[in-house]
């Protein structure tokens, strides 16, 4: 099926997001899901990006604003803590940086090395405080 292109699409096509039966999806974390090749999870939109957000965990207060407002499910939070950014699915929109109340997320050129960015992390300009 996956060899077919969009122009061979047939009316009534069913795309299955998972391999085999799925019983309790809300209690199954993405890393434990049996994604099928048809699931967009398996592909990447990283080549869209010119700039990427990088995370400095030392500045992060785990408020989760970036998680709720990321349109691309690319902020990985586990047990109420911001963990990392999923760079396969992040389109580099920059919303997470805008809503971050501390200096924990900043946009950098796509090709920049993460370690280099972290070692030269800009000083906090003015901390934005957002209510919610």
């Amino acid at each position: 099926m996956l060899e077919n292109g969009w122009d061979t699409f047939e009316i009534g096509t069913i795309l299955r997001p998972f391999e085999g039966a799925v019983t309790d999806i809300v209690n199954t974390l993405p890393e434990h899901r049996n994604y099928s090749k048809s699931n967009s999870f398996s592909i990447s939109v990283a080549d869209w990006r010119i700039e990427k957000p990088l995370l400095n965990l030392e500045e992060c207060i785990h408020c989760q604003f970036c998680w709720i407002y990321c349109p691309d499910m690319s902020i990985i939070s586990r047990e109420k803590k911001m963990v990392t950014i999923d760079f396969d699915h992040c389109k580099g929109c920059g919303i997470c940086v805008e809503v971050c109340p501390t200096n924990a997320l900043l946009m950098f050129p796509e090709q920049m090395d993460e370690a280099e960015a972290l070692s030269n992390w800009p000083q906090e300009e003015n901390t934005k405080v957002k209510e919610n």
Partner: protein
């Protein structure tokens, strides 16, 4: 329901939700459609039966041979996402009655999504039918005030003065000539048990309304403001900032209407900002800031003030 309500008490708790909507869809960077969809889907732990009318959300999340939906999801036509979900709901009810459901204790939530083109205009008759028949479903309009997917034509949700491809601003025109349709009043007039207007930047208000909607028996209508970076013409990182301007200026007031009559305002900005600030942040209103059309900004402000006054009076009068 108690468990999930506790989950949304604060953002840290809410962030333990597991997504049922996947990345690597083809929505534009910064598109509010997917922020809204996530807030809706994460508001419940129940199984989901979903539909989407043709539009940005549909074409970008079901790009053959890929799907971004980890739930039962159907696309049929531009006009009838609502009836597809209503059909599934009716079938579920019938099978349950006949004792033919494998898991009768699990009742899924039935939700249809549509853009404002699909909702205010082309699919309106189908939605109206679903509401008249009283299906137990939720209809969510992703209101970006334009037919975004086909190049930004005006819809009956496009506000006055906005430049759209079929109502462009120029030397002889200030853009869209008509006022945005009051879809909230129209849907409430169906006598629907729950009708609410939401915005994704006010996530708590939104999730609370979605949960009220899910707990309501019968048809529920949600009008969700969806800032569109492409057609409203703003930078992708500003989606939440623009949404904040909309709710703080009262251009997009947040309220609900219960049983067609009881109106409650659910968010009152502490400092109401001028409508001018909202308009000025978007390219689609740029021309209003020229000498020729500036009078329209004052007219906009008066309209927004009058609507706010009206909502407050309705709330007070309980009619």
């Amino acid at each position: 329901m108690t468990q999930i309500k506790a989950k949304t008490k604060n953002l840290k708790n809410f962030s333990t939700s597991t997504e049922r909507f996947e990345g690597s869809n083809l929505l534009c960077p910064g598109c509010a459609h997917s922020i809204i969809v996530r807030e809706v889907l994460n508001a419940t732990d129940d199984n989901l039966i979903l539909a989407a009318s043709t539009g940005c959300l549909e074409v970008c999340t079901a790009v053959y041979p890929h799907t971004s939906w980890d739930a039962s999801w159907i696309h049929i036509g531009f006009e009838n996402g609502s009836s597809a979900v209503a059909g599934a709901e009716a079938m579920h009810k019938a099978l349950k009655k006949k004792g033919r459901l494998k898991q009768p204790e699990r009742t899924p939530k039935f939700v249809a999504f549509g853009g404002d083109g699909a909702t205010y205009d082309i699919g309106f008759q189908w939605i109206s039918g679903c509401f008249e028949r009283g299906h137990d479903m939720m209809y969510v309009c992703l209101d970006n005030e334009v037919y975004a997917n086909t190049g930004g034509q005006r819809s009956s949700s496009t506000p006055i003065g906005a430049s759209a491809t079929t109502s462009p601003a120029g030397r002889t025109s200030y853009g869209e000539k008509r006022n945005k349709k009051d879809i909230m009043a129209i849907m409430a007039a169906h006598g629907a048990p729950y009708v609410a207007q939401v915005a994704p930047n006010k996530w708590k208000d939104m999730v609370k309304k979605i949960q009220t909607g899910f707990a309501t028996e019968g048809p529920v209508f949600i009008n969700a403001m969806s800032a569109c970076t492409t057609e409203w013409k703003f930078a992708p990182e500003d989606t939440i900032a623009i949404s904040d301007l909309a709710t703080e200026s009262l251009v997009f007031p947040l309220y609900e209407i219960i049983d067609g009559t009881e109106l409650n305002i659910t968010y009152r900005p502490k400092n109401v900002i001028p409508v001018r600030d909202y308009l000025g942040a978007q390219g689609r209103f740029k021309h209003l800031f020229s000498k020729q059309y500036e009078y329209l900004i004052d007219e906009w402000q008066s309209r927004v003030d009058a609507k706010w006054e009206y909502l407050q009076r309705r709330e007070e009068a309980r009619v």
